[in-house]
């Protein structure tokens, strides 16, 4: 039997008077979805009536502090993802499987976990738990230690075998140290004693969720890094580049020392990274050092590190790049620029696989794969006495030569497309093609700065215009270089002659005007015209 509660309207419910923290208008707004009847309530209102964290103005229907913004914008048809999640409105923090032979425990725990914003399900015995883990990924399994049939430890072993990344927390009503230690040995994350301490379990789950988030982020970042430096990302369909790819594939998984030669801007570091990324050392550090950028003494301390007090200012011990690259790859760029003294030390490391920090006596052994690169012609440097031949032979176990861009012009359209895509994303532009004339110019250009120069040209073209086509006008440097491209480098005299002729043409043969533009006096200009045999038209 039921009876309808005959509760008078709130105006008459004096016990509530002055208790409600919102003023009447605010309450109306706050309660708007339900304010079907006349306004009710008799709150006192005023500034103190405002809930903490909300603005002083009347309508505080915004997003409360610390809340997911999605939840504050609900209209008819709002936030579709809510509906997919049992109509609860939030993305669950983690997927948790509760395994316990007592249905009441399962029910309570699943219920509580759902309230705590987890996606939870239960399994009442070992085999169904294993089936659930095999079918779906679970972040956490809350597993009862003592169950009839297959016990918790056996389930733990199976779960860890199927899904090693799943965190398993053992639950036990009997705090047995021995069984708990055994569970931890078998790979359990922790154990909790029933009845559970809510705060302990809340903290434990939060810790796991935060940790899982970091692990996933780490995996994602590593994957991105691998993709970024995979050799597939080095662009080139030319035969020369295909040979380079083949060489990278061949040497990547060996520990052979590699020497990469090639002009500046050909992508030597990219190849070094690709070798590292495709090797078994890929999860260990890749350390790059530009030897040419550091003075001799600094380079030594950078490479080998130093002990505290080794020199003035060495107030603490510092590990060198060799130590930091332990287990990974050390890439020494511009190796041709290092001094003879450093060459000797480097040779010793290569021969003995050990070194001492500056000012130190203890030998440090490291497992480092060395990749070096230079744009200098090292055999010539050896002939000139600038580079040790024994070191060169040590470094040049495998040689990968990167051809200059002018020798693989068939790669230019591919590279342009690659950089266009890259800078479109970076600068939010929509360049889709290159004007034929511009492409011809780029194909004919000698590219002294190689791929790096091409990258800069495309970046500049995309920055200064809105597209969708890269035009000749966006490549002004070609005009300057025309003379250069036709007949090779100009002498200063040739340059002066060309420039004076250009000015005379521009001023339509008016010598006075041309002299003013060139900031020289008329007499000098006349002398130059005579000297170079220029035409005044």
């Amino acid at each position: 039997m039921t009876r309808k509660a005959a509760f008078p309207p709130a105006e008459a419910s004096c016990p509530r008077e002055g208790k409600h923290p919102l003023s009447l208008p605010d309450r109306e707004k706050a309660n708007r979805p339900f304010a079907a009847g006349p306004p009710s309530g008799c709150g006192t209102g005023g500034e103190t009536a405002r809930p903490r964290g909300f603005p002083a103005s009347g309508n505080w229907g915004g997003i409360p502090p610390g809340r997911d913004g999605d939840r504050g914008c609900l209209e008819e048809g709002f936030c579709d993802q809510y509906r997919g999640l049992e109509g609860t409105g939030m993305k669950e923090d983690a997927r948790i499987l509760v395994v316990d032979d007592e249905p009441m425990v399962c029910l309570s725990l699943v219920n509580w976990l759902k309230e705590e914003n987890y996606l939870a399900q239960s399994a009442e015995d070992g085999p169904s738990a294993i089936a659930a883990v095999s079918q779906e990924p679970w972040d956490v399994v809350l597993l009862d230690l003592k169950m009839p049939g297959m016990d918790g430890l056996e389930v733990l072993r199976q779960v860890k075998k199927i899904s090693p990344q799943t965190v398993v927390i053992m639950m036990t009503a009997y705090a047995s140290i021995a069984s708990s230690v055994q569970a931890m040995r078998e790979g359990a994350y922790d154990y909790i004693i029933k009845p559970l301490d809510v705060q302990e379990l809340t903290l434990m789950l939060k810790k796991i969720v935060d940790h899982q988030r970091l692990v996933n982020e780490n995996i994602l970042l590593r994957k991105k890094l691998t993709e970024r430096y995979a050799y597939e990302n080095i662009i080139g369909k030319s035969n020369a580049m295909q040979k380079v790819f083949e060489m990278i594939r061949t040497v990547a998984d060996t520990s052979a020392t590699v020497f990469i030669s090639g002009e500046t801007g050909t992508g030597k570091e990219l190849v070094a990274r690709a070798i590292h990324t495709n090797s078994s050392r890929k999860y260990n550090p890749f350390i790059a050092v530009s030897c040419g950028a550091l003075p001799e003494t600094l380079l030594e301390s950078e490479l080998f590190g130093y002990e505290k007090g080794a020199f003035t200012g060495a107030d603490r011990m510092k590990k060198g790049r060799f130590e930091l690259a332990h287990g990974g790859t050390l890439f020494l760029d511009e190796i041709g620029d290092i001094s003879m003294r450093t060459q000797v030390k480097l040779l010793r490391v290569l021969q003995e696989k050990k070194f001492e920090r500056l000012g130190g006596t203890e030998s440090i052994e490291v497992d480092v794969r060395l990749i070096t690169a230079s744009n200098r012609d090292l055999p010539k440097a050896i002939e000139a006495g600038d580079f040790r031949s024994d070191l060169y032979y040590r470094l040049n176990v495998v040689n990968i030569h990167l051809p200059p861009l002018r020798q693989r012009t068939e790669d230019i359209p591919l590279l342009i497309e690659h950089f266009m895509r890259k800078f479109n994303l970076e600068f939010n532009k929509k360049f889709t093609r290159v004007e034929d004339a511009a492409l011809n110019l780029m194909m004919e250009y000698r590219w002294p700065g190689n791929v790096r120069e091409l990258e800069n040209v495309i970046e500049r073209a995309i920055v200064i215009d809105n597209g969708p086509e890269i035009k000749v006008a966006q490549l002004p440097f070609f005009k300057k270089d025309e003379a250069c491209a036709e007949g090779g480098p100009l002498t200063l005299e040739e340059m002066e002659r060309t420039h004076i002729q250009k000015m005379l043409d521009l001023c339509k043969g008016n010598v006075s005007k041309a002299a003013r533009t060139l900031s020289i006096d008329r007499t000098t200009l006349h002398k130059k015209i005579k000297q170079y045999g220029l035409s005044k038209r």
């Binding site: 039921t2 509660a5 915004g62 502090p65 309570s108 309230e115």
Partner: protein, 187 residues
């Protein structure tokens, strides 16, 4: 005469109507915009008593409440003064079946002292019961614990936490509740 419009049904699991009943019912009516009906007192839920723990199993009460829920009621809330426990926790202020039909709250622990006698200077029990009732019913409508410390759906690990929150929903939980209510009515 019984009104058949959708309502939240209150079940008194005591011998007599408690003094906080009126305020709890008013608050539910206001927050959920549904009629509230009250059943006659059913007495203590002896079927849920665990003789070892000397506490009452809230899960069994929830199950019984859901089974005996009158047809007009969208949700049923049990009110009791006995000490409740959930099989996984040492005690609970109240419990609800998440997105389910039933919820139960107890005044026992909300009094703030283990012997269930009112502590000196503690806020009125009825305030806490009101918040707990709205909180647990919120769970039956699919609302989860809210991070807003002022929201009634904020998790209370103790009576102090229950005292600092307000007896109503934050705007986000309110909107979610509205959507859930609409869905319930459609079903």
């Amino acid at each position: 005469m019984i009104d058949q419009s959708p309502a939240i049904h209150l079940v008194i699991l005591e011998a007599e109507e408690p003094d906080y009943l009126r305020q709890v019912a008013e608050s539910i009516q206001e927050q959920f915009d549904l009629d509230v009906t009250v059943g006659k007192p059913l007495g203590l839920p002896t079927y849920a008593l665990d003789p070892v723990r000397k506490q009452y199993n809230s899960n069994l009460i929830l199950k019984r409440l859901a089974e005996t829920c009158p047809p007009h009621a969208v949700k049923v809330l049990g009110l009791t003064a006995v000490d409740l426990f959930s099989p996984i926790f040492t005690y609970v202020f109240g419990e609800a079946l998440f997105q389910g039909k039933s919820a139960v709250i107890s005044a026992f622990r909300l009094r703030g002292v283990p012997d269930a006698k009112a502590a000196l200077g503690c806020p009125p029990l009825m305030n806490r019961m009101e918040k707990e009732a709205v909180h647990e019913l919120g769970h039956t409508f699919g609302l989860r614990h809210c991070l807003d410390p002022d929201c009634v759906m904020n998790y209370s690990s103790g009576v102090q936490c229950a005292d600092r929150k307000f007896p109503f929903f934050c705007p986000a939980c309110r909107e979610l509740l509205l959507w859930s209510l609409k869905k319930s009515m459609r079903e």
